[in-house]
């Protein structure tokens, strides 16, 4: 009887100690779910979802405070991926937040630009080069197309230009299926 108790006690201490050690040793920094959600979000940092960036939106989704259909740049594809990851039901994009658009980058009309730096402050990803009273320009490969620089511009010299397909980025289309016509009776 006593031996059995001692054995159980010993085991309890041993397992408890190892669990305690493991919880310290393999402690996960941050929330892995937030990271996973953040990896799906497009990182435009546009704030169309109502949160100040993709990470805060990811945190809100993880905490159940936000819906998964609030990200227009992520589009339908993004919502499907989030639904798969979180085991939630797919919902069409929330139209209040915006519409899915083809990828575009900002373009500054350099003749009109007065060098006010307001767009520099608005750009969430530092994709605009320039300084006070100097002409500004978009570093196109870095631009995420968030459109946050358009509103602050006092002379309206920023426009969005859709990214054109090039030979290097061109994709083969999905091979279409040829549907065999089947003789069916017409209605009427």
């Amino acid at each position: 009887m006593l031996t059995a108790l001692l054995v159980m006690l010993g085991l309890a201490i041993l397992i408890g100690a190892s669990l305690g050690y493991a919880s310290l040793k393999f402690k996960v920094e941050g929330d892995p779910l937030v990271e996973k959600i953040d990896a799906i979000l497009p990182q435009t940092q546009c704030g169309q979802c109502g949160f100040p960036g993709c990470k805060p939106y990811a945190t809100a989704i993880a905490n159940g405070e936000a819906d998964i259909n609030c990200c227009p740049p992520g589009g339908d594809d993004g919502i499907h991926k989030l639904a798969d990851l979180l085991g939630r039901e797919y919902k069409p994009l929330n139209a209040e937040k915006g519409v899915e658009k083809p990828k575009a980058v900002a373009f500054i009309d350099e003749a009109t630009c007065i060098g006010c730096t307001l767009c520099l402050q608005a750009c969430p990803v530092d994709a605009i080069a320039g300084a006070a009273k100097q002409m500004h320009t978009i570093i196109a490969p870095l631009c995420t197309g968030c459109e946050l620089c358009i509103a602050p511009c006092p002379v309206d010299c920023i426009t969005m230009e859709t990214v054109q397909e090039t030979v290097d980025t061109w994709k083969w289309r999905f091979p279409t299926f040829q549907i065999k016509p089947v003789n069916t009776r017409t209605a009427a």
Partner: protein, 531 residues
């Protein structure tokens, strides 16, 4: 070693389509006359797009560099003839997409005058200089992959180079450009092989030629008779024996595993056309401005032409006598070729063959039927993949799974689609999946870099705010301390009031001190404008 004694190996799979090669080998290679206009696309090889060096209105000589290699992973572009640059603008590329790319449009002056060319001092130059020279001469792989050759002409770091494999197999139906080149110019090819062998420090060079080209084999063997380290070997005719990995396997027995390069095993592979181009560049100082192109299909006299890059394809095909009823051009062969978006697209470095297509020659594909998992495609696959699995996952857009089945080891040879009893265009699915995966990777990289920059920016803003606050606090503390010191032993009851007064006094002092400075500044500015 006698070539006849060399042990040959074989690769799995492969098919034997009708070759259609006899038609275009009856007549020798002829140089193509000058077309009315050349459209030379700047991006003709794998790697960076060359930077244009010419402006509209500028006169250029034949062989003059018009596009400089962008970095080392690129190759230069040269003027195909002497003339005037009419425009540097986007023109339709010889690419299925029908997209345009920056091209140099040259109007020939008819003189066809070479830029002063001289032999490159190959023996006295350092290997790196030779490689840079080849890059600036625009030498790329002419087998179809158009990979910059100078990048491949480096001996492996770990393994010494043993065998230099020269690809003269030319397994694809209709194409005979390498065949004719080997028949007519074997000595030049062999000189190119010697240069490559020296650069790679390879022990031996082996030329593999499919045994359906006895004339080419005989011609190469005669020319190589005096070279003990070059062997000309006939390999069995089976498509795709001309694939680099397949030919290496046939000639050396080495199977290059997934994710590794043949240089890791002491083998490197080049096309015979590339060897010829290297000879032209080094010994004659002529950059790569032309190549042999087979014209076949719906024409009066299928034959091979020496065509300069930038020649419109319709001009080329008309020389061979284009018959009526052609509904498009196919660049490359019927197995791996691409249908061109227009008739006037230019001949580029990758153009080994132009087939004038007709609905009779290339009938529309029969309706695609469901995969019955018969496994024919797996038996035909020369890279030992499982095409039906890759097809299944590509079709379901399950790209991760498709990659697990080594989608990127697929060489798109088309054997699987050729044997498929359900007429499934398998290669189209692989191409779709590959480009889709690349697009997603690009998107992922862009998102990662945007995330990093966003986080860095937030950190910077936080840090600046903190530093500003700290600075302000420090300054306030300093003024308070001086004010208290000034007030000295003031009664403690009025201490707070005094400190406040002292702060205000200090602020006034500072403003006064700043005033003369600002008053002076405009004066200085005025003085400078008067000067």
């Amino acid at each position: 070693m006698n070539a006849a004694l060399r042990k040959l190996f074989s690769f799995n799979g492969g098919v034997k389509p009708q070759t259609h090669k006899a038609e275009s080998t009856r007549t020798p290679i002829v140089p193509l006359p000058l077309p009315p206009v050349f459209v030379v696309p700047l991006h003709q090889s794998v790697g960076g797009t060359p930077i244009p060096l010419v402006k509209p209105g500028q006169k250029v000589l034949k062989g003059e560099r018009i596009g400089a290699a962008d970095g080392n992973y690129s190759a230069a572009i040269h003027a195909p003839t002497s003339g005037t640059v009419v425009a540097v603008e986007p023109r339709t590329m010889a690419h299925t997409s029908g997209l345009s790319m920056l091209s140099v449009v040259i109007e020939p002056d008819g003189d066809d005058q070479w830029l002063a060319t001289e032999k490159f001092p190959f023996q006295s130059a350092a290997p790196d200089e030779v490689r840079d020279y080849l890059r600036d001469a625009g030498i790329v792989g002419l087998g179809g992959a158009v990979f910059p050759s100078h990048m491949k002409l480096k001996p492996g770091k770990a393994t010494p180079m043993k065998t230099l494999v020269i690809n003269g197999a030319e397994c694809e139906p209709f194409i005979t450009c390498d065949d004719m080149l080997m028949r007519e110019r074997p000595a030049e090819i062999l000189r190119g092989i010697c240069i490559m062998r020296e650069l790679l420090q390879a022990e031996e060079a082996v030329v593999g030629i499919e045994d359906n080209k006895p004339e080419a084999i005989a011609s190469m063997q005669t020319a190589a008779a005096t070279m003990p380290y070059v062997q000309v070997v006939a390999v069995p005719t089976r498509y795709p024996a001309g694939g680099a990995k397949q030919l290496i396997r046939v000639l050396t027995g080495i199977e290059v595993p997934h994710g590794q390069r043949s240089t890791d095993y002491g083998v490197q592979c080049f096309n015979v056309g590339t060897a010829y181009a290297i000879h032209e560049a080094i010994e004659l100082g002529r950059p790569l401005i032309s190549r042999i192109v087979t014209v076949a299909g719906h024409v009066d006299t299928p034959r091979n032409y020496e065509v300069r890059f930038g020649t419109p394809m319709d001009f080329l095909v008309q020389q061979a006598g284009l018959k009526t009823g052609c509904d498009g051009f196919v660049m490359g062969g019927p197995m791996m070729g691409f249908r061109m978006p227009a008739f006037d697209v230019p001949v580029v470095k990758a153009t080994n063959c132009v087939i004038a297509a007709t609905p009779a020659l290339f009938p529309p594909p029969p309706p695609e039927m469901p995969c019955i998992r018969c496994g024919e495609c797996a038996r035909a696959c020369p890279t030992d993949l499982q095409p039906f699995e890759m097809y299944w996952h590509s079709r379901a857009k399950n790209f991760g799974k498709a990659q697990e089945y080594s989608l990127f080891d697929c060489i798109e040879c088309g054997c699987c689609a050729y044997v498929c009893p359900s007429n499934i265009p398998l290669v189209d699915y692989y191409r779709f999946a590959k480009t889709e995966i690349w697009a997603r990777e690009r998107q992922m990289e862009a998102a990662d870099s945007a995330r990093q920059r966003f986080e860095a920016r937030n950190e910077r803003i936080e840090r600046e705010k903190r530093e500003k606050a700290e600075k302000l606090a420090a300054r306030a503390a300093a003024t308070r301390a001086t004010a208290q010191a000034d007030a000295g032993s003031a009664p403690s009851a009025d201490g707070a009031d005094d400190a406040k007064k002292a702060l205000i006094a200090a602020a006034i002092e500072r403003a006064k001190a700043q005033k003369p400075a600002t008053a002076e500044a405009p004066a200085v500015a005025d003085a400078s404008t008067q000067d």
